[in-house]
Amino acid sequence: MQYTILVYTTALREAGVMVGGAGLEPPPTATTVRQPGGKRRVQDGPFADTKEQLGGYYVIDVPDLDRALEWAARCPSAATGAAEVRPNLRM
């Protein structure tokens, strides 16, 4: 897994589409903050206890969704779980 991620990241870099990203430590390492009405509550664990967990993300620069989907399909996590594609908010 580690190795295929490395190969994939290299491919993104060599294609010149890689902008950034990070792999994340697993959910048990998460700490969640909520501050409703100004009152801070800190809790151990991820904010959503779901079967599928965010393992990391890539920021890539491609002209359209179709190109992004091509790259997402090649991501090793697409074979073992899922790769979700979202546009960046335009700011």
């Binding site: 002209p63 359209d64 969704l65 179709d66 190109r67 992004a68 989907l69 594609v85 546009p87």
Partner: protein, 404 residues
């Protein structure tokens, strides 16, 4: 005054889809292209009565819509303004030959059929953008509330813009997979035009021809896709019978009683040729089977008879490929002709009643077979339900006559 209005309506009707597809492809934004084109049409209705109809109404509309898009982009901010300036430059170059702007309708069709688009919204979106149907009409064709349909369409247009779906005809590898949705939409458009036999509904006038045009375009682009050929053949067979579906007085004429001299032989021949070409590709499919059924009906021109056994057999094949309600009811009708009314009724009884509560053809056929079996009271009830579900007055009048 009226002439200018008519000219604007004509320009919009003939070229709406083409203008919209071009603008949407250039700006990658269907919703804004629609707004701009709508504004341009309003401007035409205001301006043309005063200034006269321009020599090239379509080019006028295109220029007006483009200006709206550029102005809108300028207002949206600095970054967008630079983009807008670039677009103006490109557009001015295109202005050299305004009549020859590229036809992006097929690309737009494939955008609408993109896997990232909600499946339920694909056909409605194509009907609205490429063929210019309004949301209320699409909603009634898809049996949902107009407000629901409008919301659904707004949502998918936002998705196209925000997700950045590519405005291109897909590469050969992906093209086949997206073709199904495109063919479905074209057939739905044809169906909508087909219902309006008399041509009395201005929103649907010419829709059948538009659908056939789109079918021809797709069939030409994909000569090795048997289903694209099959759909074209199917539409041509049906269109060949258009003139025979009403008599001189405008009364509804069922298929079995149509005047064969009013069937278009050239169109039937063209359909036969297209279907034969599809068959050579040796991959059966829903549209080819439906076309084959119409081909059997078309044989009546030569033989004077209908081979109902062949029709029944083809419907059985069709039910394996696409078990739609239309196919189930039509299969029951074919059984009723090939065997007897009892067999037709048994096939109708096998359909769960809650699925046909508002399906007009089911009740019309049910009335027909019950009447043939001498069960007059039940036949009357079925006909009454069918009459209540018929939009077309000619069909209502026919059913009233049958019930009596």
């Amino acid at each position: 005054m009226r002439d200018a209005g008519q000219a604007a309506e004509l320009a919009a009707r003939v070229s709406y889809g083409r203008l919209l597809a071009y603008l949407a492809a250039r700006w990658r934004d269907v919703a804004r292209a629609e707004d701009a084109l709508g504004d341009a049409l309003l401007a035409a209705l205001e301006t043309w009565p005063r200034t006269g109809v321009p020599d090239n109404p379509v080019a006028w509309l295109l220029t007006a819509a483009r200006r709206r898009l550029v102005d809108g982009a300028r207002h949206a901010g600095v970054a967008a303004a630079a983009e807008a300036d670039l677009k103006i430059m490109l557009d001015e170059r295109a202005d050299a030959s305004p009549a020859a702007f590229p036809d992006e309708r097929l690309a737009l069709l494939f955008v609408c059929a993109h896997p990232a688009i909600d499946e339920a919204a694909r056909t409605p979106l194509m009907l609205q953008t490429v063929l210019g149907l309004d949301a209320a009409r699409i909603a009634s064709a898809f049996l949902v509330a107009p407000a629901t349909m409008s919301q659904r369409l707004v949502r998918v247009k936002a998705k196209i813009r925000e997700a950045g779906i590519r405005f291109e005809i897909p590469a050969p590898g992906e093209l086949a997979a997206r073709l199904d949705a495109v063919l479905e939409a074209i057939y739905a458009a044809y169906g909508s035009g087909w219902e309006d036999v008399a041509g009395s509904d201005p929103r649907r006038r010419g829709l059948a021809e538009e659908a056939i045009w789109l079918g021809q375009l797709v069939a030409r682009l994909l000569p090795d896709e048997p289903e694209a050929q099959g759909l074209l053949a199917l539409m041509l067979y049906c269109e060949a019978r258009r003139a025979a579906r009403r008599d001189a007085a405008g009364a509804y004429v069922p298929l079995g009683f149509q005047d064969l001299r009013r069937w278009s032989r050239p169109m039937i021949e063209e359909a036969e040729e297209v279907l034969a070409g599809a068959a050579r590709l040796k991959a059966a499919g829903r549209f080819q089977l439906e076309a084959a059924i119409q081909s059997v009906h078309a044989q009546r021109v030569r033989t004077g008879e209908t081979d109902w056994e062949a029709v029944t057999l083809l419907y059985e094949g069709l039910l394996r490929h696409a078990p739609t309600m239309g196919a189930r009811v039509a299969h029951a009708a074919a059984l009723g002709e090939a065997r007897d009314a009892e067999a037709g009724l048994a096939a109708l009884d096998a359909i769960p009643p809650d699925e046909v509560a508002t399906y007009q053809p089911y009740w019309a056929l049910r009335g027909h077979v019950l009447k043939a079996l001498g069960r007059a009271a039940e036949a009357g009830e079925a006909y009454e339900r069918a009459i209540g579900l018929s939009e077309d007055p000619a069909v209502r009048a026919f059913l009233l006559g049958r019930r009596a």
